[in-house]
Structure formats: C-alpha cells, structure tokens
Amino acid sequence: MRWIFLLCLLCSCAAPEEEAPEMQTIPGRDRVETYRAKIPESWIKSPPSEKESLADTTKPIYQLSIPCKEGDIIITVHNFPTEKFEERIPAEAQAARWRSQLGEALVTEVRPQSFGGFCGLRFDGEAENLAVTAWAMLLAPEHYPQVEGGRRADYTIKAVGPPSAMGRHREEIAAFARSFELIEEIPQP
C-alpha cells in the first residue's frame, strides 16, 4: 500500500504547464494589428484616435501611462516604416537624440539589446527631475528581406517619468519592452 501511495505521489509532482498569458495587440502606423506585448493590468492604455492620421512618424502608434504619486510615467511606442535598408535610422542616432533631450544628464547608459527578431540598444538616462528608459530596435538584417510592408518597420519604446517612479517600475517597463514582438512569426532566414 505504501508503494502505491509513493507512486501516486511521484506521479503528481509534475509542475502544471503555464498557459501563455494574454498578449495585447498594438496596431502599426497603417492601423493594422502588427505587434503584441504583455501590458500590465494597472497601466492605462491610450491608443491613438481613429480620426488622427499616423503618417507623421513623430506621432506615437501607441501610448501607455503608469499612474504614480510623484508623477505619471509616460510610455510611447513609435515605429518607422522603410522601403529600403539604407533609409533606416540607426539606433545610435535615436540614443543620441534622447541624450540631448535629457539636457544635463547625471547618468546615461547604453546597452545592446536583441529580442523578438529585432536588435538595437537600450538607453537609460537620468537628469535631476527626469529619467528615461528607452529602446531603439531595428529589424535584424537577416530578417529584413523576409518581411514586407508595415511589419518591416523599426520601432522605439520610450518611458519617461520622475526618477523615483522610474526606479520602482523599471523592471516592469523592461518586461513590457522585451515582450514586444511582431504578431506574425518571421520566416526563418
């Protein structure tokens, strides 16, 4: 009897499989559902208005905010569709722009990043009253010929907020950014 009990116990020890948590879709500049990411429930989503044209790449394709007592953290997602490989904006140029926006930055750090078929860099910067964590991601050169249309766009994710709030939510923001991907799988190069 003891052996049967032991066997039952051993067989029941398998960890339950985790269903993939729901990803939220994010449309591209052409309003077609192009991306998806894990967005925490507590974040406030602000998709662009249907009446607004998104042709201007200075306009974000999606905006989120994290309410905080010292001031909200604003997260904006931009993408930059291109027809040719040479037209793409280098990730370093985006980082340089963010650095100049911070003004007298106390700390800045740039790290290479690669996930979801995109590679680029992560920028972390902090000034006296403002902190920025941002990603500039370009579709990997190996994938560029395989992908067409709006899916070919490079993207940026930028989170701006008070330094203390950013410090508390930085990991959550990083988890959101690293979950960001194209809905459709990219064909193997």
């Binding site: 290479p112 078929g117 990997a140 799988e185 990219i186």
Partner: protein, 477 residues
C-alpha cells in the same frame, strides 16, 4: 535444435553476450580516445551490425530463459516479472532507435520551426514556386536519379570577381589580365593581379592618376577590389573566399546571387552644367580647368558593380574525425551539373537550379513534429559585474499544432521541457551569446514513443521483480 534452444536461454550464453558487450564498449572507448571522433568509434561498435546482434542475443536469451520455466507456477512470478521488465526495456530501446526522433532544431529570434534535423542524414531540400507560394520538399540524396556522386569531404569557397582567370562584371564581357571599360563617359582601366599585398599595389596604380579598377586575388582565392579614381582616396572592398560577406539575391535566390561593389565615377554632364551655371553668373574664364576639376569632384556619382556569386567546391581527403567531414554532392539537374556542400545545420544559401525553377540545399533530413516552437528571446546570464556567463536561457512559445494550445516556456541549461506526448527539448547552444545581433539557439530534440509505454514500466517491473526475487521469495513459494 533442442540443444540450441537450451543454449540460447542458458547462463553461459548470457555471460558470452555480456563479455561481447564489454569488449565492444572497451573498443569503442579506445577508438574514440585515439581518434577524438565518437562517430568513427560508433561506426565500429555501437552502430555496427555486431552490436545489433548482441542486443538481439540479449532479447532471445532473456525470453528463452523465461520460457524454460514453462509451465509457470506462482514461485516463478518474480523471475518472470524481472525478465519481462528487461524485455520491455530492450523492446523500448529498439523502438526508440527505429521509430524515435533524435535531432536538433535551430531557431532564430523572431522565427519559429516545427522541423527537426536528423544528424548524419543526407537529403536535398527543394523549394519551388507554385500558385500557393513557395513549396518545400525533401528527398534522400542517395535515392535521387540526379545524383552523380558524393565526395565524403571537401571545402567550399565563394567565387566572386575572378572566375576561370578572368574578371567578370555583370553586363560586361569577361576581361583577362588588362582591359578597359566605359563607366558613364569615363574610361577606366581594369587590371587583374595575383598578389598577397593588394593595398601596396593599389597605391602604385593610384599614383598613376588614371582611373583604374584593380581586382586582386590572393593564394586563398580571396578577392579585393579597388577603384582608384582621379579623386583622393581609394574605394576598397574585400571578398573573402571562405565566407559570405554582403550579397544581393535575385528573385529570392531563384535567379541566384551577386556581390556588389560601390564606386564613384565622373558625371561629366552634371559637371558641365554646374560650370555653365557658374559662368552665367561669373564671366571670368581664368582657372576654367581647375573649375572643371572641382565640378567633376562635386558631381561625381555612385555606381554599383555586381558579379555573380558562385560556390566552388574542392574535394579533400576525408578526416579521421568523421564529425568534421563536409560531404560534397554532385548533381546534374536539367542538363547542368551543380555541386553542393553539406549544410549541417540546414542553414546557408539555397542555390538556384533547374533553370531558376528551384532553390536547393544539401542538408540533413528533417521530420515534422506536432509542435511549433518560436524563439522570442535568448540571453546569456553573467555573474554580476563580470562578463563571465553562468547560464543561458531562451524564452520560447510552444504551439501544439493539433489543439492550437500555446504555452510559454523558458529553457535553460539542464532545464528540459517535455511535452505531454514525450517530446523533449533541451537548450544545447546559443550564439552569439551577447546581444549585439540576433541570437540563434540550438535545441536538442528527443522523442521516445516507448518511454512511458514500455521502457519506464519495464524498468519498474524489472526492479519490482528483482526485489521480489530476493526479499519476497517466501511470499511467492
């Protein structure tokens, strides 16, 4: 016959089989130590017909020794349980060998696959354009009527600007040695030189102040192209023979590949227009020559030369370490002979064939599994404050193709993911390991259809039988 039957189920035969097994294992160990090649050792031992015969011998010996106890009584139960368990283990092993899957899957971040490559198998992947898109199929290479032969080992080189001793530029006639070409309205000399010091030679040509397109080739067959124009500076690009640099594909590779070279040439018309516009505002004609030279510099335009990229395969002596051999297949397709080097990981370029109707690659056979894996993120985990890795991880999305159910999993070293059906995925490699470019992982994929049905129950039964035989004998007597 009766004597043979008794011998097959006897203890001396069992001891003989055990002795053979030990000899085979020793031989395999010694060969592998000497040659550093597991594959070479296995071909003489574990993968040999002799070892299969030993396994078959064990099966017969265990079965017949059990049948010797007929008619069975209660006291035989532990003995029979042990033997049945052993037979189930051997049966499970044979089913795994012939019906299981042991292979690998290569995934690139952002992409997915449901194909497992079977190592040491040889197939031709053929892709064809149809009205439904590009359709892939594979055929075992040895069964192909188009196969002329296979060299067991060779090396692959990439032929670019110099083919059969002549400079080949797309759209122009091949040039042997020296020639001249018009680019726009400018005449350029073209020179082909064999040298291991191409930069020095380029400077010598540049000093002549005449436009020269210099193509050099070194001992290894690597090419370097220099455009020594009248301007300062020399445009240069290298084309190593042993690896692919940039290339352009035509019609997704169905029409082949080229390599580009960018250079600047004069645009005389634009220069004349610029000078004309200037002279309309300033009528001073002194220094007109210098003005024209400046105008040419300001209005020079960029052109891109291309040449076909061709694989060159050179057979070599096979290596003793079989894992390092790279077979070369020779095929004749639609009247044209083509050689292909084995792409062990199923990556690498697919080459055009059959007049541009096909794209083909010589690679391992693949099997489709009922799961699709998509690689989201692969990363290296380092000790804090150092670049020393202590682990590798990969976030994958697993889709059960039968039910459509999706599961997120994080694989890491020594952390295997096993599906309910018994498919096991093990992270066995990651490259490049930093995040400077997209990551690629290699998964070892294992499927044993008999694991839960035969092998593990057999092991349990054998263990219970052995335990009962020694400690519960009184209960069964």
């Amino acid at each position: 016959m009766k004597r043979l039957y008794r011998f097959l189920g006897s203890l001396p035969f069992a001891l003989l089989l055990i002795s053979f097994s030990i000899l085979i294992v020793i031989l395999g160990t010694v060969i592998e130590a000497k040659t550093e090649s597991h594959k070479f050792a296995a071909s003489f031992t574990y993968n040999s017909p002799a070892f299969a015969a030993v396994l078959a011998g064990f099966f017969l010996n265990i079965l017949i020794s059990a049948l010797h106890r007929w008619p069975f009584k209660k006291r035989h139960i532990p003995f029979l349980a042990t033997h049945l368990g052993l037979l189930m283990i051997i049966g499970g092993t044979l089913i795994k060998i012939y019906f299981g899957i042991q292979g690998r899957m290569i995934l690139v971040e952002g992409s997915g696959s449901s194909q497992v490559l079977i190592p040491d198998s040889y197939a031709l992947l053929i892709e064809e354009r149809t009205s439904h898109g590009i359709v892939s199929r594979q055929a075992p290479i040895h069964a192909l009527p188009e196969l002329d032969g296979i060299f067991p080992h060779g090396k692959e080189r990439y032929g670019t600007w110099i083919k059969e001793g002549k400079v080949e530029i797309a759209g122009l006639k091949p040039i042997a040695g020296y020639g001249a070409v018009m680019f726009g309205e400018e005449v350029w000399k073209v020179a082909l030189e064999k040298t291991d010091a191409p930069e020095k030679l380029a400077e010598k040509y540049h000093a002549e102040k005449e436009p020269v397109l210099l193509i050099t080739e070194d001992k290894e067959g690597s090419a370097t192209v220099f455009a020594c124009g009248k301007e300062e500076g020399i445009a240069k690009e290298s084309y190593p023979a042993d690896r692919l640099a940039r290339y352009i594909s035509y019609d997704d590779g169905f029409l082949g590949y080229t390599v580009p070279f960018k250079m600047r040439i004069e645009d005389r018309q634009a220069a004349l227009k610029l000078v004309g516009d200037y002279l309309q505002k300033n009528s001073d004609l002194s220094g007109l020559d210098m003005l024209m030279e400046q105008a040419k510099k300001l209005t020079s335009k960029e052109i891109v030369l291309e040449t076909a990229l061709r694989p060159i395969h050179i057979p070599e002596e096979p290596q003793v370490k079989l894992e390092e051999n790279r077979p070369i297949a020779l095929l004749t397709i639609a009247g044209k002979q083509i050689s292909l080097a084995y792409e062990r990981n199923g990556t690498g370029l697919k080459w055009p064939a059959n007049g541009g109707k096909w794209r083909i690659r010589f690679q391992p056979e693949y099997v489709e599994i009922p799961y699709r894996l998509r690689l989201r993120d692969a990363r290296r985990l380092c000790y804090p404050g150092t670049g020393q890795p202590f682990s590798y991880e990969a976030d994958i999305l697993v889709t059960d193709l039968k039910s459509g159910r999706q599961i997120e999993k994080t694989l890491s070293m020594n952390h295997v993911y096993e599906t309910a059906e018994g498919y096991r995925f093990y992270l066995s490699g990651i490259a490049p390991g930093d995040e400077t470019s997209i990551e690629r992982i290699q998964l070892a994929v294992n499927y044993d259809p008999a694991r839960w049905r035969l092998t593990y129950p057999g092991a349990l039964l054998a263990a219970l039988g052995a335990f009962s035989l020694f400690w519960l004998r009184r209960f069964f007597s």
